[in-house]
Amino acid sequence: MFNKVLIANRGEIAVRIIRACRELGMHTVAVFSEADRQALHVRLSDEAYPIGPAPSRDSYLRMDKILDVAKKSNAGAIHPGYGFLAERSDFSQACEDEGITFIGPRASAIAAMGDKAVARATVLAAGVPVVPGTEGEGSLSDEDLLRLAPHIGFPLLIKATAGGGGKGMREVRNRDEMPSLLNAARSEAQAAFGDGNVYLEKLVEGARHIEFQIMADMDGNTVHLGERECSLQRRHQKLLEESPSPFIDDDEGFRQVMGEVAVKAAKSVNYANAGTIEFLVDKDKNFYFLEMNTRLQVEHPITEEVTGFDIVTEQLRIARGRQLGITQDQVKMKGWAIECRINAEDPYNNFLPSTGLISHLSVPTGPGVRVDTGVYAGFQISPYYDSLISKLVVRGESRAQAILRMRRALEEYRIVGVKTNIPFHQRLVEQARFIAGNFDTRFVEERFSLEKAEAGKEGYPEIAAIAATLVAHEQTERSAHIIARGKRDTSNWKWVSRWERMHR
């Protein structure tokens, strides 16, 4: 039975897994790219080894190097986190071949669910409803897809067979725009996953994205841990998730129906370990299997907060061959949890990613607040990886309390040095439709504008004017003096030069 775990990942999820290992008394092995020598997962791990240059394909995607480190360090298991190698059946297989426990499902389950087309066919055969689409086997040519499209009907979605997270996804309104969109989707999928295959799917309008957390042990005991509401997305990237879903809320019957279908879907591929079944749900409570994520999910903490069940710890236990600690009737959702994904991006400038040194950081704390993060004051956000800085998670007795708690936590959160989407979340959680729980997957893109939301607020322009004027005034005063060169050099602050530029 393993007692040392290699974490084949970086960022907040690597930190999350290290924490779980530590809480079980297991040793940890981190791997890092050249850009990540000072990353938090390297600092917190018991051991850490370099695996190559910054670009993922040269480091975090290099199975060979990671397996070498595992062997060198005598790690008995590998946790892949999410992204990178997490949904690569060949990696799971390679681990097995080397006698290293892969903390996740068997290679066959990843393969079956990883090809979205195969996945849909498999669960359909098990009696799980799916969104109408091209449930063919593996790769279809553009010609095939163009031919099948009218049978599915427009609008439809092009989706990457290998993918997730909205990459390689395109929405098609009519046949004419389809060829160029196919092209774009394939090239994006190729870049993101090394696999340009795509498939088509009917676009369910007014849909909610609701997913069920699954836990299964090696003996096939399978439970669901209730649902997560993930409809608030932008460019198919989830931004804010909550559990329970306000759409299901106290309709326990509906929850159990969906949950049973989710369990059935997982069992159709002999699933083991943690996984997520994603559904689209229309306003009449029809629901369709969308895909299964055969790995730990970014938003797993909200399920942990409402069920009291530590998913990562349980992943490790299951991988050690232990049976599930709970049965379905022991799973109780209590209270409400919300997660905001805090990204290094500028919500006022088209959500452009932002890189740079985090010069100051104040993390919200206190009752009911949890932050899963991979950064610290002094850390450099590089352009090589995704823009997720941290996940701000709150729990409350009720949805209303959770929302109010999230508001205060967002207001407390201070990150200086990179732009973040915190103001976006601040405005989002104030929206009447959000508070009413009345939104679908199009809400953020079609009904929510940060600028309009701000214009609609009364605000404090006089106070802002005072602040801006005093800052400018101080800079004028400062630039009127001779400033010691050293003082400038060590400052992260660009006003002096800015001011000089203004007055040139």
Partner: protein, 167 residues
């Protein structure tokens, strides 16, 4: 010291009367303004109200004030500047060339414009891949594309000049 500070096209005349007192459009305020941790984060007490503001330099010599979850984009001019400017005539700020620089290191995925092409405000100038996302950089104004310095497939450094837009 008297300043004209503009936020959302509204002008505020802010006069600094002492270390703890300012007036805004003639109204007096007690102000206690302190920088926190040597950072561009400020604690501001105005007549007892407590505000935390992050203040950053924005585009075109503006100051961005992020406060209670809202962004205020401010232009601060002192009276003298202001007089010189109005003597020189308005509209100066609009003309000239806009230089698009890479806001972050990345890869030019596509460059849908060519040298000399007319563009409208909001037209996509380039698509830059960074942090695993494709990001569209748009023109902030109407004008003509000039001096394109990159091509699709190029890697660019942060602040590297990409092209200009001339009015």
């Amino acid at each position: 010291m008297k300043y004209i500070t503009t936020i959302s096209e509204r002008e505020y005349t802010v006069e600094i009367l002492g270390p703890r007192q300012v007036s805004v459009n003639g109204k007096l305020y007690d102000v206690d303004f302190q920088s926190i941790s040597g950072q561009p984060v400020f604690s501001l007490l105005v007549d007892g109200g407590s505000y935390q503001a992050a203040v950053f330099p924005g585009e075109e010599d503006t100051l961005q004030v992020l406060m209670r979850g809202a962004l205020y984009v401010a232009t601060v001019e002192d009276e003298r500047e202001r007089r010189l400017k109005s003597a020189g005539g308005a509209g100066v700020a609009i003309s000239g060339e806009y230089i698009l620089r890479a806001p972050m290191p990345g890869l030019i995925v596509s460059l849908p414009v060519t040298d000399g092409q007319e563009v409208k405000k909001g037209d996509v100038l380039i698509i830059l891949e960074s942090m695993k996302m494709q990001n569209e950089l748009k023109s902030p104004r109407d004008g003509k594309v000039t001096r394109v310095q990159v091509k699709a497939g190029d890697s660019v450094e942060q602040r590297q000049t990409i092209l200009g837009v001339e009015t």
